[in-house]
């Protein structure tokens, strides 16, 4: 079981049936498709380019403007229309990624030292207005810092952080381990995390079900996102 597959399934499980979701791109998009075809058939996906989808995309999607993300959309409109609904509080859960995260759930996607990153995109708005957020990141010590050097996104609600090592809870009391992925040790997590974590109550990330694995194969047939082809 590779980490990406576990991360996608963990992301999918963050989506409840009938949730309104800012799913974004890459792994969360596959997570949305998995949730839709397993436990959350009523979930609705919002895309900041102006799309609303009630069925997952069929075919490879690299950007949210790609044909497969347009075809079968329920609504095609303007950025401000969809993000206005977000600001109005209509979004239950928003997915984000970043270069740096801290114990308070602040994200940096703008600049680290002299390195200039692409910037917020819609991330800062999603963090500000989604009722809760899910971050998906590679777990490396240089990314998991006590305080981010630049706050691009300040989440309004609780954050579930899904990494290559486990699942964590931020911005709702002290930073806490929810579960560790199979074969990941406490020591390894501590070594790769630049802020303190509470381990009490931590479990193992459950293995994906057959139905979830099947849904991933359907959503990512070539293994482009899950790395299954590599």
């Amino acid at each position: 079981m590779n980490a990406r597959t576990l991360m996608i399934v963990a992301a999918a499980r963050q989506i409840a049936d009938r949730d309104v979701v800012f799913a974004g791109m890459r792994l969360p998009l596959i997570g949305f498709a998995v949730a839709k075809s397993t436990h959350a058939p009523g979930a609705v996906g919002l895309f900041e380019n102006g799309l609303i989808r009630e069925v997952p995309a069929r075919g490879m999607v690299v950007t949210m403007g790609d044909g497969p993300n347009q075809h079968g959309a329920t609504l095609a409109t303007s950025l401000i229309d969809v993000m206005g609904m977000l600001q109005r509080g209509r979004v239950n859960v928003g997915f984000l990624g970043g270069a740096e995260v801290d114990a308070l759930g602040n994200l940096n996607t703008t600049k680290v030292g002299a390195t200039r990153l692409p910037g917020s995109g819609g991330g800062s708005d999603i963090a500000a207005h989604a009722q809760r957020c899910v971050f998906i990141m590679e777990h490396e010590r240089r990314r998991f810092v006590e305080r981010v050097s630049y706050i691009t996104s300040r989440p309004r609600g609780p954050v579930t952080l899904i990494t290559t090592l486990g699942v964590f809870a931020l911005n709702a009391g002290p930073a806490r381990v929810v579960s560790l992925h199979p074969d990941v040790t406490h020591d390894r997590v501590i070594e790769q995390t630049g802020f303190a974590l509470e381990f009490e109550g931590a479990t193992r990330t459950p293995e994906p079900s057959d139905a979830e694995l099947e849904a991933i194969r359907t959503a990512d047939p070539t293994g482009f996102w899950t790395g299954a082809s590599q």
């Binding site: 949210m64 403007g65 347009q70 303007s78 950025l79 692409p118 300040r154």
Partner: protein, 282 residues
């Protein structure tokens, strides 16, 4: 009155050195690459590029030395991540470009204010972020009707907007579909508008579906009928995204020398979009 033009004529006449240019409002779809390449061929300088997200075109304009400033929410190559020329220009000492960071929503709100001719819009975004304090386009203000604080976002003015439409008539009335990003606000905020259309249609076709007419001709200065103008970005109903072209650009532009070679091959040595499409399919 016909507004039909070639890309070269439209860019020569309507894009000036120092302009504030919106050329990336579709959010990964309908990006006006052909006009961007013509801006590079004509050597326009000191442009300020505005936009929420630009997939690769802004990186090309920066690499060609056309750009002085960016007012944007995200710059890069969406499939590959970063844009090499953007990074080189931003990380140079001293930096070769100035960057005003927005978020997608606050950008759209500032643009809409300009589109409506008012000085600012308001948002509940930005609280607790460093974006808010980095420049003076945002001001925290009190709701005049209550006690809440919000951020005012200064109107984002635009000299020239360049947009891709699926079809247009000769007067510039254009049908657009698929996701819209900030297309409507860009056109309405701009002083001058260039429409690049996949197809020229009779005004009767436009009037047969007025809900699809998202760009009224009264705002348009030039209509260029140019199939493939948005390549390699997608145009819903006409063209899929050419992922390989984005990846090839990403690989080719890791160095400044590589960027120069890529630009010679795909822009400078190619006279216009028809020649580009011919080269692409050779």
């Amino acid at each position: 009155m016909s507004k039909l033009a070639t890309t070269a004529d439209a860019v020569a006449r309507l894009v000036h050195d120092g302009d504030r240019v919106s050329a990336a409002c579709g959010l990964e779809a309908r990006i006006p690459f052909s006009a961007g390449h013509e801006i590079i061929r004509q050597g326009k300088r000191n442009l300020t590029l505005v936009g929420p997200i630009s997939d690769m075109l802004y990186d090309q304009l920066i690499g060609a030395g056309c750009v002085r400033a960016l007012e944007v929410a995200w710059v890069g190559n969406v499939g590959a991540g970063l844009g090499h020329n953007f990074r080189r220009a931003a990380e140079a000492n001293p930096p070769r470009i100035t960057i005003t960071d927005y978020t997608n929503l606050t950008y759209a709100i500032g643009l809409r204010a300009a589109a409506e001719g008012i000085p600012f819009g308001v948002t509940r975004s930005l609280f607790g972020t460093d974006i808010a304090s980095q420049h003076d386009a945002f001001r925290e203000i009190k709701d005049p009707f209550g006690d809440e604080c919000v951020f005012a976002v200064r109107a984002i003015s635009v000299d020239v907007a360049i947009v891709v439409a699926q079809r247009a008539d000769a007067n510039g009335n254009a049908h657009v579909w698929g996701n819209l990003g900030t297309t409507l606000e860009s056109v309405r905020a701009a002083q001058r508008v260039i429409v690049l259309a996949e197809e020229l249609v009779d005004p009767d076709v436009i009037r047969s579906e007025p809900n699809r007419t998202l760009i009224p001709g009264l705002l348009v200065d030039a209509v260029v009928v140019e199939p493939g103008a948005a390549h390699p970005s997608p145009v819903e109903g006409y063209r899929e995204r050419d992922h390989a072209a984005f990846e090839a650009y990403h690989r080719a532009t890791r160095t400044s020398e590589g960027t120069d070679a890529w630009r010679r091959e795909w822009i400078e040595n190619v006279g216009d979009r028809a020649a580009y499409m011919k080269k692409l399919h050779a």
